[in-house]
């Protein structure tokens, strides 16, 4: 009886680990997709709009213009 219980627990642990692993790899795919989407031209429109607004007059004043 005890042996069966141990085997059952071991089996459950293996199944749990497999589920966790597949979910993690699914997460990695989703995370990568989200990252690429966040770098797409549509997502970057906010930055490009700000670039347009920066030029020509909105650059804040700095003392040293050579080197960043």
């Amino acid at each position: 009886m005890e042996v069966v219980l141990v085997v059952l627990i071991a089996l459950l642990l293996v199944v749990f680990a497999l589920v966790l692993r597949s979910r993690r790899s699914g997460d990695a795919v989703a995370d990568f997709r989200r990252q690429i989407d966040a770098l797409s031209p549509e997502a970057r429109r906010g930055v490009t709009d700000r670039v347009r607004r920066l030029r020509p007059d909105e650059v804040p004043e700095g003392g040293d213009d050579h080197g960043s």
Binding site: R44, V47, R50, V51, L54, G63, D65, H66, G67
Partner: protein, 334 residues
């Protein structure tokens, strides 16, 4: 509730981007201190005006050199004061993304994040400057194509090949526009026997400095202190002699670009010929530098629309999409 911030902590300038608002601060990375009491007297533009012109008890310093923190305590105080100026207090603790040179050591990384946290940030993460520059320069880094960006700052020059949101090849040297200024200072001291300050050297670079012949026969009149007599003296400098004087740092920067090209996978190399390389950073504004890189590499070189702000705008994009892009932080690569 504090608005999250992106900071381009440059050797020459510090720029701060506030989430939802854009660039809210652009100041020289300079701090002026009372040497006796240690009190901060000025930061940013005000402190920059003091460089080389202070009485004995005041010291105006740049706490970063070569993209690295040379004085941790002073850097922390400078960051704290700059953050205070954009509204950060002990009650409003924002998340902060800081752009740093990709070649910084683990110790330097920790120094930067610790300085930001002590200065009031709830959480501080780092992003590589070339990656931020590529986003800010609006390169299509989400596509599987070779995007090449050359970021020439005050203390470092970095060239990176970026594809699919990640760095494929990278080359960095701790040579930047301050080294060009130093080469000018040394040349004038050696050849003309006069001493000039760092700001005068920078003015000379802006007036007659070039990396390649520009076809203009320009000269600059420079006033300094005669090293023999100690009296004020004026000399006339030609563009050609300044070009020769800065050849070493310019060559070092171009050599690092060539090394990065050599590291790029062949599939991406062919993209550069069609798409070109993008130049960002204040050092990239040196006359003739883009043409010189282009002639030595046979790859077209294009100047970014926003060379001075590209890095902070890229980091600003990351702070706007913090959750989606947090995998790009240094040390969090998946």
């Amino acid at each position: 509730m504090a608005r999250d911030l992106a900071i381009d902590l440059g050797t020459a300038n510090t720029l701060v981007y506030m989430k939802g608002r854009g660039i809210v601060l652009n100041e020289p990375s300079v701090i002026a201190l009372n040497r006796q009491t240690g009190e901060v007297l000025a930061t940013g533009s005000e402190a920059y005006q003091m460089i080389g012109r202070t009485p004995g008890y005041i010291v105006a310093v740049r706490p970063l050199r070569g993209g690295a923190i040379t004085d941790f305590e002073i850097t922390e105080r400078m960051i704290r004061l700059l953050l205070q100026r954009v509204g950060v207090s002990r009650f409003t603790r924002p998340k902060v993304v800081i752009c740093v040179p990709s070649a910084i050591t683990e110790v330097e990384r920790r120094a930067v994040t610790d300085a930001a946290r002590r200065a009031g940030a709830a959480d501080a993460n780092l992003i590589e400057q070339p990656m931020a520059a590529a986003i800010g320069a609006d390169l299509p880094i989400d596509e599987p194509v070779g995007n090449m960006v050359i970021d020439i700052g005050g203390g470092t020059s970095e060239t990176a090949v970026i594809s699919l949101g990640g760095v494929v090849a990278l080359e960095a040297v701790r040579v930047g526009s301050f080294d060009i200024d130093a080469a000018i200072q040394n040349h004038i001291r050696r050849e003309h026997g006069i001493a000039v300050g760092e700001r005068t050297a920078e003015d000379i670079k802006l007036a007659v400095g070039s990396a390649a012949p520009t076809g203009e026969d320009v000269t600059a009149e420079v006033r300094g202190r005669d090293l023999m007599s100690g009296l004020p003296k004026t000399v006339l400098l030609t563009a050609e002699e300044i070009r020769e004087a800065i050849e070493d740092p310019v060559s070092a920067i171009i050599a690092s670009v060539i090394r990065c090209l050599a590291k790029a996978p062949p599939e991406l190399s062919q993209d550069f010929l069609a798409r070109g390389m993008y130049l960002v950073g204040g050092g990239g504004l040196l006359r003739g530098l883009a043409q010189r890189i282009q002639s030595e590499t046979d790859v077209p070189v294009k100047m970014s629309n926003v060379p001075l702000e590209a890095v902070v705008l890229g980091a600003g994009h990351v702070i706007e999409h913090y959750d989606a892009l947090k995998g790009m932080f240094m040390g969090v690569r998946r």
